[in-house]
């Protein structure tokens, strides 16, 4: 064997030995470092992608624009009327809240984040967001939108973080079903299709009387996800040998996520 090849093989074997001995903390450190390196490029790419999308949206036909303009003018008048009514209600609401020393309605401190990239792999469902430890993020923080639960943070770099989606098989959420005492664990399905991925809920009782459309919320068990966050609606329920098993339609369209909120903690 040639000397250079032999030398290369020895160096490679030593490097492999070093990498294989990385434990969970070493792995997370390496991932955090690399995410820090790649994040600025992903962010620039995301900006470019948005600009291109905006340009494409802007290239509409004149007729379409005229029709859209008329519709917008009508809806603008409607909204002005609604806005005026709401202003009156806001004044009244504030007066009553002050009178009753009412506490704030939002229970959590949320920080908005922009999705800068989606996972490019075939089997893992993650996204990258433009907030990191500099914004107060840590790993295992819930991520949601106004429609429902999205996932939780995993690797957190200074200005970016990786979020594992609820459609990933490794993301498990303790949950309960509205109107019942049924509780189960929700996770994603390996290799689920491209359209809206389905979620599955395991460990339900075999006698559960569940109907399609029933809503499922996080139960708060486990401590990562707050209780009462909407996850999805039941699509199908079937009884297996040991437990009941339901498939769910997620509340959030996980394939077109653009903006999310990270739950930093209770206010």
């Amino acid at each position: 064997m040639r000397r250079f090849t032999l030398f290369a093989l020895i160096v490679f074997a030593l490097a492999m030995g070093g990498v294989f001995t990385l434990g969970p903390s070493g792995t997370q450190r390496a991932q955090t470092q690399f995410l820090g390196v790649i994040a600025p490029f992903l962010e620039k790419g995301s900006d470019l992608e948005r600009k291109i999308t905006d340009i494409r949206r802007g290239l509409k036909k004149l007729e379409e624009l005229e029709t859209e303009n008329k519709q917008l003018a009508v809806s603008n008048k409607e909204l002005q009327a609604i806005n005026q009514t709401l202003r009156d209600l806001e004044v009244e609401n504030n007066r009553l809240r002050t009178a009753m020393h009412y506490r704030e309605r939002a229970a959590f401190q949320l920080i908005p984040a922009r999705v800068i990239a989606r996972d490019a792999s075939s089997w893992w469902n993650t996204i990258k967001i433009d907030r990191g430890s500099a914004d107060g993020l840590e790993s295992d923080m819930p991520v949601l939108t106004e429609s429902g639960l999205v996932g939780k943070t995993t690797v957190v770099a200074e200005h970016a973080a990786s979020v594992i989606l609820i459609s990933d098989e490794n993301c498990k959420v303790a949950s309960s079903i509205e109107g019942t005492r049924e509780q189960g664990i929700i996770s994603g399905e390996r290799g689920s299709g491209t359209s809206q991925p389905a979620l599955c809920m395991r460990f339900l009782s075999k006698t559960a009387n569940l109907q399609p459309g029933q809503k499922v919320y996080s139960s708060g068990v486990g401590g990562v996800y707050p209780a009462g966050v909407f996850i999805g609606a039941i699509k199908e329920f079937r009884i297996r040998e040991l437990d009941g098993y339901a498939t769910l339609l997620p509340a959030v369209d996980l394939t077109t996520l653009e903006d999310v909120f990270v739950v930093l903690g209770k206010k």
């Binding site: 250079f4 160096v11 990498v19 390496a30 790419g45 490019a120 792999s121 075939s122 390996r190 491209t194």
Partner: protein, 195 residues
């Protein structure tokens, strides 16, 4: 050679970033477009064995840094953090497939450029298949979830290979042009090979 190696390294990094912005292909059951393996396989055909190993290490490291998951297993006091698939498996996978590609170098040097195209397709699918087997075996042990192959999964394994097959000539001629630009001729016989 070093300049060309650096070009391949930056191209692999660039390909990794670009593939994040290419959506899954709905007509191939959600198969992904993987560009980084195409760059690596070009390197495996054009670089000497040592260079191929270095590139395999870089590509595998970058891939694992983005995909490996550290998960919590067990409940209560017995819970522990484990790495789902050990960091470094992709490096090994890339090195093994790169070694296979290196075996085709004599043919490639004789001008058979289609070797890159064909082998990139096969090897890209092999990467995705290996990942699926690794996570399936691991999750079967962790969660006691059996793994199954359905039509969608087969497409998600074969799809990236088919896409690689189509894109390989473009990547090939782009990287070949860069090699010419920096004065690297992969067809030249290295002094060591004459021995």
């Amino acid at each position: 050679m070093i300049r060309f190696f650096l070009i391949l390294l930056f191209s692999a990094f660039g390909a990794l970033i670009v593939q994040h912005f290419i959506p899954a292909l709905p007509f191939l059951s959600g198969a992904r477009v993987l560009l980084m393996p195409l760059v690596f396989f070009f390197g495996a055909l054009t670089l000497p064995f040592g260079g191929m190993l270095a590139l395999a290490f870089a590509c595998g490291f970058m891939w694992d840094a983005l995909t490996v998951q550290v998960i919590e297993v067990g409940m209560g006091p017995s819970n522990a953090m484990v790495v789902e698939i050990g960091f470094g498996w992709s490096i090994l996978l890339y090195a093994m497939l790169g070694a296979v590609m290196s075996g085709f170098r004599p043919l490639f040097k004789r001008g058979r450029w289609e070797i890159h195209c064909l082998m990139s397709g096969i090897c890209t699918s092999l990467i995705v298949l290996s990942e699926f087997l690794l996570i399936s075996i691991r999750r079967a042990a962790l969660y006691n979830v059996p793994f199954e192959f359905n039509r969608d999964i087969w497409w998600r394994i074969g799809g990236p290979g088919l896409v690689a097959l189509v894109l390989a000539p473009v990547v090939f001629f782009f990287l070949k042009s860069l090699a010419t630009l920096v004065g690297y001729n992969p067809n030249e016989v290295e002094p060591e090979e004459e021995v």
